[in-house]
């Protein structure tokens, strides 16, 4: 934009500020609620300024407990479960997708295109469609309430495979040929040339997949019945008691804030790489 028109500029900023407020307000409310006692939170009107119980509430949430009738599992444990699941899902997805894209792009084998289309078609099927049969398989394999049950069914990823395939197709053939002349075998080429070149794509994918793994709700809801295996997103739901009974809203909100921190951190720390991976075409 070369033009300088003050009124337009002000208007744009007003719209942006409104947008930020609309998005930030619920988060702010959650934060305020997490710093008061239960009694204060459920009182109408709810206080709009942070209270004095920040430390109590967060420690309480992390260690578990509370006076309500919902789940009292320790949020600290849930955070660990979530973190491990999200990491395994993100790293597993990246590893599997890289290898399958490598196979599809660089190797000639029978039914190569069939394999590619089989992977591609599963893009169109959301997890919910195959959730019944997947649950049956996981439960038959005794993987309920395990990390394997939480992560393995979510690892296969058509999207990531497709993304890496598209990236590999843009790598000039001469690089492969030069590597062959240099005596690099297929895995050597993969490790020394393709992986470093894919670094930014991998980073972008890691951000997306970590958040995807962290925010999983439906699947963990099915496969975890044991409190010690709840991811934090499920934990929030379980903490809310049904009906007329009392819920520790201050603890629920503290948990919600805690649950927001790791994905936010991942995005903030990897933002530079993330953007680079999405827009970079430098080869």
């Amino acid at each position: 934009m070369v033009e300088r028109r003050p009124t337009l500029g002000i208007l744009a900023h007003v719209v942006l500020l409104l947008g930020v407020l609309i998005i930030a307000f619920p988060v702010y409310v959650a934060f305020v609620a997490s710093t008061h006692t239960v009694a204060d939170v459920i009182k109408a009107p709810m206080p709009m300024l942070p209270g004095a119980h920040f430390v109590d509430n967060y420690l309480g949430a992390l260690e578990g407990g509370g006076m309500g009738t919902g789940s009292k599992a320790a949020v600290g444990r849930m955070m660990v479960v979530s973190l491990i699941s999200a990491l395994v899902i993100a790293i597993g997805k990246i590893a599997i997708s890289l290898l399958s894209a490598f196979a599809i792009v660089y190797f000639r084998f029978p039914f190569r295109m069939l394999c590619f289309w089989a992977i591609f078609v599963t893009l169109m099927l959301p997890v919910e469609v195959r959730i019944g049969p997947t649950y049956k398989v996981v439960s038959d394999l005794n993987m309920l309430n395990t990390y394997a049950g939480l992560t393995v069914p979510l690892i296969a990823s058509a999207t990531a495979t497709f993304l890496f395939r598209q990236f590999f197709l843009t790598v000039p053939d001469e690089l492969l040929e030069a590597a062959r002349m240099d005596g690099a075998g297929p895995m050597r080429f993969f490790k020394d040339i393709l992986l470093p070149l894919s670094a930014t794509s991998i980073a972008a994918l890691f951000v997306i997949q970590f958040i995807y793994g962290w925010n999983q709700y439906l699947w963990p809801l099915l496969v975890t019945t044991d409190e010690s295996m709840y991811p934090v997103v499920i934990g929030i739901k379980r903490m809310i008691a049904g009906g007329e009974t009392q819920t520790d809203w201050n603890l629920v909100m503290a948990t919600a804030i805690l649950a927001m921190i790791p994905p936010a951190l991942v995005v903030m720390l990897m933002q530079k790489w993330f953007v680079k991976g999405l827009v970079d075409t430098e080869k």
């Binding site: 690089l175 040929e177 030069a178 590597a179 062959r180 005596g183 690099a184």
Partner: protein, 354 residues
């Protein structure tokens, strides 16, 4: 040592009767230390031939040997050759040093030896101050030199160049051409250089292989190829402007072309349909010359001048000294053709008759 032999090599894509054959039985012997240029128009199969020598394309039929060893089924890395690619194919994430050292590292050459070889190559190519840069931070000419450095450090029996100069601008191309020649004089390694540029071919090659449509038209020194083109294709491809090719009927020392019958300085090798080739610089304006040329257009190139005209209906280009007073467009001048500069080709096959 580094001799390359190509024997009846065929390349076809696909199998069975629908297979597309692009190289039709090509043979050539390249002596150790020789600099050979394969030249031809695009699509003539020259790059495919080079890639078959490199091992990047399978050989459908025939055999290729490097240093006396048949390499048809040998992996590219084990053929003891190095290749410089058209777009250089440098590893973008590695430094210049790593790019050059990569092949040696894989070959498990000791670290000290790698260091020594890379430093030596960098010194020859004047890359020493750039070793820590990545390819992105280099200019086109520097990248080209890194690509050559990567080939040199391997100390192979032969270098293969796949149009390595075509991505450079004209000035740099001329300069790099000289550098490649100097390098060849220093290292004396057998080199196979593919290009479509006849200037590169003439200036670099000790011998040229002229290819067209998957066949070798002529193998010879630049003087041979220019002075005695083996076919009408070579006559028309090498030289700028190319040789005048006049398809007509010969009968003794008379030659009918474009509706006029002309007197030859010496008898045609045989009677019948023949094509007469004359280089633009070999005909001369002469008062008593028996070939009337109607001048249509003139081009001043500085040192020389090109005259475009017609002999009867047949087009003819003449090159004269730029300092001569030229005829005017529309005038008819008389040409003299020295007998030693007449090239005769069979009009049907295009093969040289005399």
């Amino acid at each position: 040592m580094g001799a390359i032999a190509i024997r009846n090599v065929v390349k076809r894509y696909g199998r069975g009767p629908s297979a597309l054959q692009v190289i039709h039985g090509v043979s050539a012997e390249i002596a150790d230390g020789e600099f050979i240029v394969i030249v031809g128009p695009s699509g003539c199969g020259k790059s495919t031939l080079l890639r078959m020598v490199a091992g990047l394309e399978e050989i459908s039929d025939g055999e290729i040997s490097v240093g006396g060893r048949v390499v048809n089924d040998v992996e590219p890395a084990d053929r003891d050759i190095a290749m410089v690619f058209q777009n250089y194919a440098l590893y973008p994430h590695m430094s210049v040093y790593q790019n050059m050292a990569y092949g040696l590292k894989i070959a498990k050459v000791p670290k000290a030896e790698i260091e020594a070889r890379v430093q030596k190559a960098a010194k020859i190519l004047e890359l020493s101050p750039l070793l820590q840069r990545t390819p992105r931070q280099l200019s086109g000419g520097q990248r080209q030199r890194v690509a050559m450095g990567r080939a040199i450090v391997r100390q192979p029996q032969a270098f293969l160049f796949d149009e390595p100069l075509s991505n450079l601008d004209a000035k740099l191309r001329a300069q790099t051409r000289l550098e490649i020649r100097k390098l060849h004089q220093e290292l004396g390694v057998t080199s196979l250089f593919v290009t479509h540029d006849q200037v590169e071919a003439m200036t670099l090659g000790q011998r040229l292989i002229v290819m067209n449509a998957g066949r070798i038209e002529q193998i010879g020194t630049p003087e041979d190829v220019y002075g005695r083109p083996a076919t009408t294709f070579v006559a028309g491809f090498i030289g700028s402007p190319p040789m005048n090719l006049l398809a007509g009927q010969a009968d003794g020392s008379r030659f009918t072309v474009g509706g006029v019958t002309l007197q030859l300085p010496s008898a045609a090798p045989r009677a019948g349909a023949l094509t007469l080739g004359v280089r633009p610089e070999h005909a001369a304006i002469h008062r008593d010359g028996g070939w009337p040329l109607r001048v249509d257009m003139l081009e001043m190139l500085g040192a020389e001048r090109l005259l475009y005209g017609h002999l009867g209906d047949a087009a003819f280009v003449l090159r004269i000294d730029g300092t001569l007073v030229p005829p005017k467009a529309g005038e008819t001048i008389n040409l003299h053709l020295p007998r030693e500069h007449l090239h005769w080709y069979d009009s049907g096959t295009g093969q040289r008759v005399a």
